[in-house]
């Protein structure tokens, strides 16, 4: 195998059982004959070493049979010309279509990323490559994980489990709303005299329109239900079309004369405070947010992935210390009828093996966190626990952090809510086009943030695994909300929370073609954890 790129070198090392420091790989790539150099370096490494270090490579290159280290050999510098970047300041509500919407340059370093300058030596990429030019290895901090169901799934599929999960949802979310209205229980409201002012916090039980075009929203709390009417002339009527069943709401209004229904004056979502101040890292460090790799599919874009992995080995990517994967590592088996006919790798374990191989191309010093998606070999019902032992064993090489879907992962002080995104389909189907669509998936994410729940509607597309508590509630406001699933790239900020729906690494499938979905494939959104600015890089 020709070893002209760092990623290939990394893969080759992985094949031989080594993780490698990024510098070590760069050094090998810079050698005149990387293959021989690699052999020598492996030879030089002690038998018990798991990680090939710069020292090993240096000693190998220095030895007579190794190639002399040809410092500054620009001709062998990693070819980054295929890496396009789209410039974007994440903050606007914009959907990224780099090839069309955004100007993109072949400049390797984004201009609006000045902090990067301090990290790198400032030399153009063409001239770097010497061991001296790359002195700083990545030093990611350990991440912390919260809200992960893995190992804590106590539900046994009983009726009581279902009741618990919805009660927990109500308790958690009504807690968020208590301060805003003076909640009265449904049964108490039913006993109040007509004309009283009332307020109630409840889960949406039913939404229907009356014959005259008004809306009736039935709310439920632990005592019962009460109907609220939103008359069609009110400006809050617009909000009705945003409502999903089973989300938690607070309303204020006036009881009708016969006290049978209340007219709504105001309606509150748990929401993210407008003034929310997100946490940021106290150093310049970046995270790549990707999802939907779909290894095993005939449409998996191995070349794009390799370019991405190669790029991670470049100086330009040296600040990328975290890789956060939001599900669908592999294409899976039996996800849809006759899927085997469209699989490149039919064996599910082989799919994970191959995925693991692809993961090894990622520099060993990048911290990886992954959650499962609906194509992965875990239960479909949400919350989804992380991969079981058998699959973890397959993916040990890169010592990735494997957690459940959803999970909140804190990296460098920045909390990232990772959720695969199955509910986005539902939100997009239920809400009007301008509020959520496949072309603007992040807008659908905004609604989830607003409802403080990643998948509120029960009984539709969502499959719910009943647990003691509702892991799908967004209890604490995250700094970044990261989803995938719909294979479309979109990002923006909602009340200062960065919402990113990353694209995918799978080209258009026959199914997508039939329903006219054009996926955004081969993009890697890179977020600066110190500023929460986002840069999208294209590798396809």
């Amino acid at each position: 195998m020709p070893l002209e790129t760092p990623a290939r070198i990394a893969r080759e090392l992985a094949r031989r059982g080594y993780n490698a420091e990024r510098e070590a790989v760069t050094l090998l790539a810079g050698a005149v004959d990387p293959a021989t150099a690699l052999d020598a370096a492996v030879e030089a490494a002690p038998d018990d070493a798991l990680r090939l270090t710069t020292d090993h490579v240096r000693s190998a290159l220095a030895s007579p049979d190794g190639s002399p280290s040809d410092a500054g050999a620009s001709s062998t510098a990693p070819d980054t010309s295929s890496v396009d970047t789209s410039t974007s300041a994440a903050g606007g509500d914009s959907s990224a279509h780099p090839p069309t919407d955004a100007p993109h340059t072949t400049v390797s370093t984004p201009a609006e990323n000045p902090t990067n300058q301090s990290q790198s030596t400032g030399t153009p990429v063409e001239t770097k490559g010497s061991q001296k030019g790359a002195d700083s290895g990545r030093q990611p901090e350990p991440v912390t994980v919260a809200g992960d169901v893995t190992g804590r799934s106590t539900g046994t599929g009983e009726y009581g489990d279902f009741v618990s999960v919805f009660r927990d949802r109500y308790e958690k979310l009504s807690g968020q709303l208590r301060g805003r209205v003076n909640h009265r229980p449904a049964t108490a409201i039913a006993d109040m005299p007509g004309g009283s002012d009332v307020a109630m916090i409840g889960l949406v039980n039913e939404i229907r329109s009356s014959a005259s075009g008004h809306w009736i929203v039935e709310l439920e709390d632990t005592t019962g239900t009460f109907p609220f009417m939103i008359t069609k002339d009110r400006d809050i009527t617009d909000l009705v079309e945003e409502l999903l069943l089973d989300e938690c709401l607070a309303v204020e209004g006036t009881l009708s004369d016969d006290a049978g229904i209340a007219f709504v004056d105001a309606l509150y979502f748990p929401d993210v405070p407008r003034t929310y101040r997100p946490n940021t890292a106290d150093r310049h460090v970046q995270a790549a947010l990707i999802s939907d790799v779909h290894v095993g599919s005939q449409e998996f874009m191995a070349d794009a992935w390799n370019r991405f992995a190669d790029w991670l080995h470049t100086e330009e990517a040296s600040a990328v210390e975290y890789l956060l994967l939001a599900g669908d590592m592999v294409e899976g088996v039996g996800v849809y009828p006759d899927q085997d006919e469209e699989l490149d790798i039919v064996d599910i374990y082989d799919q994970y093996e191959r995925f693991s191989e692809h993961l090894k191309a990622v520099p060993g010093d990048i911290e990886i966190v992954m959650i499962p998606g609906n194509h992965d070999a875990v239960r479909l019902a949400e919350p989804q626990p992380a991969f079981d032992e058998e699959l973890r064993d397959i993916m040990t090489a890169h010592d990735a952090r494997i957690v459940g879907n959803p999970s909140t992962v804190t990296v460098e002080g920045v909390s990232v809510l990772m959720y695969h995104g199955v509910s986005l389909d539902e939100v997009i189907a239920e809400l009007p086009e301008e509020k959520a669509s496949y072309d603007h998936p992040h807008r659908a994410m905004y609604h989830l943030l607003k409802k403080r729940h990643v998948a509120p509607k029960y009984g539709g597309h969502l499959r719910l695994a009943p647990e003691e508590e509702d892991y799908l509630v967004i209890e604490d406001v995250p700094d970044i909300f990261h989803t995938g699933h719909v294979h479309k790239l979109g990002y923006g900020k909602y009340h200062n929370v960065l919402a990113v729906n990353s694209g995918c690494w799978q080209a258009q499938t026959a199914f997508q073609k039939s329903v006219n979905i054009d996926p955004d494939a081969g993009f890697a959104p890179i977020v600066d954890l110190d500023t929460l600015d986002l840069t999208v890089r294209k590798f396809a």
């Binding site: 599929g157 088996v333 039996g334 064996d347 875990v378 479909l380 969502l462 695994a465």
Partner: protein, 1187 residues
Amino acid sequence: MTPDDERYFERMEHRLDEAFDRAKRAKERGADPRPEVEIPVARDMADRVENILGIDGVAERVRELDGKMSREEAALALVTDFVEGTVGDYETDAGKIEGAVRTAVALLTEGVVAAPIEGIDRVELLDNDDGSQFVNVYYAGPIRSAGGTAQALSVLVADYARSLLGIEEFTPRDDEIERYAEEISLYDAETGLQYTPKDKETKFIAEHMPIMLDGEATGDEEVSGFRDLERVDTNAARGGMCLVLAEGIALKAPKIQRYTRDLEEVEWPWLQDLIDGTIGEDDGGEADEADAGGDDEGDAEADSDDEAETGPPRVDPSAKYLRDLIAGRPVFGHPSESGGFRLRYGRARNHGFATAGVHPATMHLVDDFLATGTQIKTERPGKAAGVVPVDTIEGPTVRLANGEVRRIDDPAEALKVRNGVEAILDLGEYLVNYGEFVENNHPLAPASYTVEWWEQEFEATAADVQALRDDPRVDLADPTAATAVEWATEYDCPLHPKYTYLWHDVSVDEFETLATAAARGEPRTVESDGGHGMVRPKDGSGGEVLVIERTERLRRTLETLLVEHVATDEGIRIPDWEPLARSLGLTPSLDRTWTADDLSTAAREYDDGDNAIRAVDEVAPFTVRERAPTRIGNRMGRPEKSERRDLSPAVHTLYPIGEAGGSQRDVGAAAGARTDEGKGVVNVEVGRRACGDCGATTHRTRCPACGSHTEPVYECGSCERLVEPDESGRVHCERCDRDVTSVEWQQLDVGARYREALDGVGEREAAFDILKGVKGLTSANKTPEPMEKGVLRAKHGVSAFKDGTVRYDMTDLPVTSVRPEELDVTAEDFRELGYETDIDGDPLRFDDQLVELKVQDIVLSDGAAEHLLKTADFVDDLLTEFYDLPAFYEVTEREDLIGELVFGMAPHTSAAVVGRVVGFTSASVGYAHPYFHAAKRRNCDGDEDCVMLLMDGLLNFSQEYLPDQRGGRMDAPLVMSSRIDPTEIDDEAHNVDVVRQYPTEFYEATREMADPEDVAIEIAEESLETEGEYHGFDHTHDTSNIALGPDLSAYKTLGSMMEKMDAQLNLARKLRAVDETDVAERVIEYHFLPDLIGNLRAFSRQETRCLDCGESYRRMPLSGDCRECGGRVNLTVHEGSVNKYMDTAIEVADEFGCRPYTKQRLEVLEKSLESVFQDDHNKPSRLDDFM
């Protein structure tokens, strides 16, 4: 029609008149919703059309037009009448169009199916964006029963009417066009279409369609893209519209074009593009794919031309019938696989019209899974067929545990050896009639070499076949080995089929090996063989058996060839070996006449060396034909049916009792129940009626005060004015612009009514176990039935269908000639029924003479006879006790039913056909003339429908009982046909062939895979509108009884699904033509996995229900308890129902070596189930935990 036929119909109509008179007198008592018989007699199609539509004057006009033009042209001609107002009484343009469209559909479906009334909801005028008006036709699901042509014509008729009325064309909006495309794809995915137009085609049609096609939602799945459109009132797929657009317009474009050409006012030039198939061509690939998919047969023909020299003519295998295989329904043969059913051409007397003739021994040997009437899904020529027993074809060949390979032609023998069967090497012959190929437009498949073909070839030689036929010592069908060889060599005739083996299924290699082994073999006389083996030569005790070396390969070769033999320890013993030896190119003294070098390259490489027929041809001293070139794979579809039709729960009386009778709807319990209203009083919705004589108001159909008939009272719910129904029966309040019904809440004293009913018919409660009513009524005016009828039904153990009739369901099968004996009747009975001669014209004297069946005569299953007896008793009681009239039937045993009339009535139709009972059969099917089934618009591929006793229908049916919902008027006898006109039935029946022998040319044509239309064999069509149109149905094959084989399929006798599946897999192992791994794989793939996945999905989004009051909740209440009654709420889908197949599926996958892909899908699912249903903290400890 012959005078004889005329007498037959008159006789039937006479009995019908008798019944009618009696029923009329009964109805005049006024106790029923209407004081007249509600099933009008239609003497012809025009009558049926008028009756079904309820538009006066249509029948007369149809009769005028019918003689002059085709039915399609008549439908178009009628449009003018509607537009001009000479037919129908419509004030609005929309009404006129609606009338014309309905009439057209009714005409094209011969006034039988419910599509014209149920499939077209309405026609309305809506506004285009430019302010002009356009026509919108609103279809509903039941339009399906009209079929593609009528669907397409309905659109054309609407457009024609539109242009005559000067209404503008429909201008679709872009999003509406896109919506059509998305919706058709959705409907296809959800429900499936026979033909799915490509998106471009759909859009093209939508863009050019001059009227709007709309309809009501028929499914729950919604489109995701083009939602909430202003002029489309649903986001779900509109099934009726999808059918009309896809299977109507897109599929039948050429047919429509034929009519648009003749109409000046209608121009659909765009049809040409559809027909040319140029729409969507530019994404070429897809179009090609579609072509390739639909054109298997065409390819087969092409192949035969190219490869005439290198391989035999063969039809391409097709695996479509294996799709959606489910547990418990076995596969009998993989596509065209050696060992499967061998195609034999011919029509048995109980055959044709989508049926397959199978030997009864085969039925038993496939562990009784096949019985008379069992439906099979088949590889060709159609998609499905009903199984009929035919014992004049060859039975199956089996290998027994003692090493013997034997063909079994006797069902009794099959039962005897069944336990010792190791393998079923061959399923025997499979009789398909020529007409099936015509009907399915399937190229003829190469014919098996059979006696009827051989005999014609033998006659063409110098042999005096007639002399041989007359010779009592010679059996042309079953000659001795020596005779067969003699005929073949002496007269230069192909070897007799009895000794023609399946050389085409063995390779040239295997052929040579067998020849070598046979040459080394040793003939032994039976006396000196030490008593080994059961197989003895058939030509007398003095013969020899050939003993050859025993190797697995030789055994397999002989088994493939279907050479009967016994494998013993010392060798394989073959009786009657001479024809075999000669076919192998050996002399009678077993000297080999050839060496390997003598075989030509052509013979050696024929079909890549996998087919030894050419080699045999070269070395044998006579011609050897292909014994079984066409194998037909199939699998079980539905089991046969012969069951009473009961609603669930069964209903004795259509009388509402609310919740008072409990879940059993027990009227007795309701009568004594203490409710809020008082003891035995329930609050229910019923129609308000008034007595015309004394003015009393009641819910009852007969005035409780004075005994007169009552009429419904329609009071407008908003203005409280009384409204009268208009001519068409609609009740509409003009002032409030709303439809009005007579329904109101009333308090009924069920207790008093119950006691009154018992007294009225002189019965006591002890006369029956339980009298079941209904919770509420679903008809428009909620008219209850007189409870007396229910009391008598309960007494006689029969129950009512939604329309008040008592029904019995049976699988349809055809029969054209019968023996009185097999129907458990006598020749005398038959003579009394008007049968005078047998099929050869000889006087009918003996019970076993074969008689051609008359078109409206039917044979009841034993169960049906028993049920009709009960119904007759019920009807007689009803007449005497309730209507105070004399009894009509007075039956004591089932023989008394002979000659009585019944109604045959199929689902999706609205017209009953009068039939006459002529006998009984133990098979669980309803045998009748193919024309009778076709008159109900059924064929016999597993379809089932019902019979009702004539008088029961006349007395108890009322339109007033029919549910007021889509489809409510389907499967109800809105009209009856008293005599069948062969030109007015489903024309599929015209394709039944009616000859006694197929000519040699036919067999030769099959080897060319000719178009069936190019062969001259007489089919029923040819006698239409001649004097002989009611008879002359001859057949090529007899069967000793129409009820051979098991009476019930094992599918029905085996208990649980698991038992059925075990039996299915066990059978798969035994059958040589079946790949058991594939069966296991498919059962998992199509049954277990969807079930597991579906149930798991259902679990995780389920509703819950209160155990106490039954209230259901979309989501679990936060309170945990029922919000209505405070009772206990529980899940509707439990763990047990989710994972019931998990362990079995995994076991089967392991045991049958399924693909890793399948196993892994199961593994992933199993983990999912564990994850959902197991507490992580309580997981069983793993060894790792202690390490």
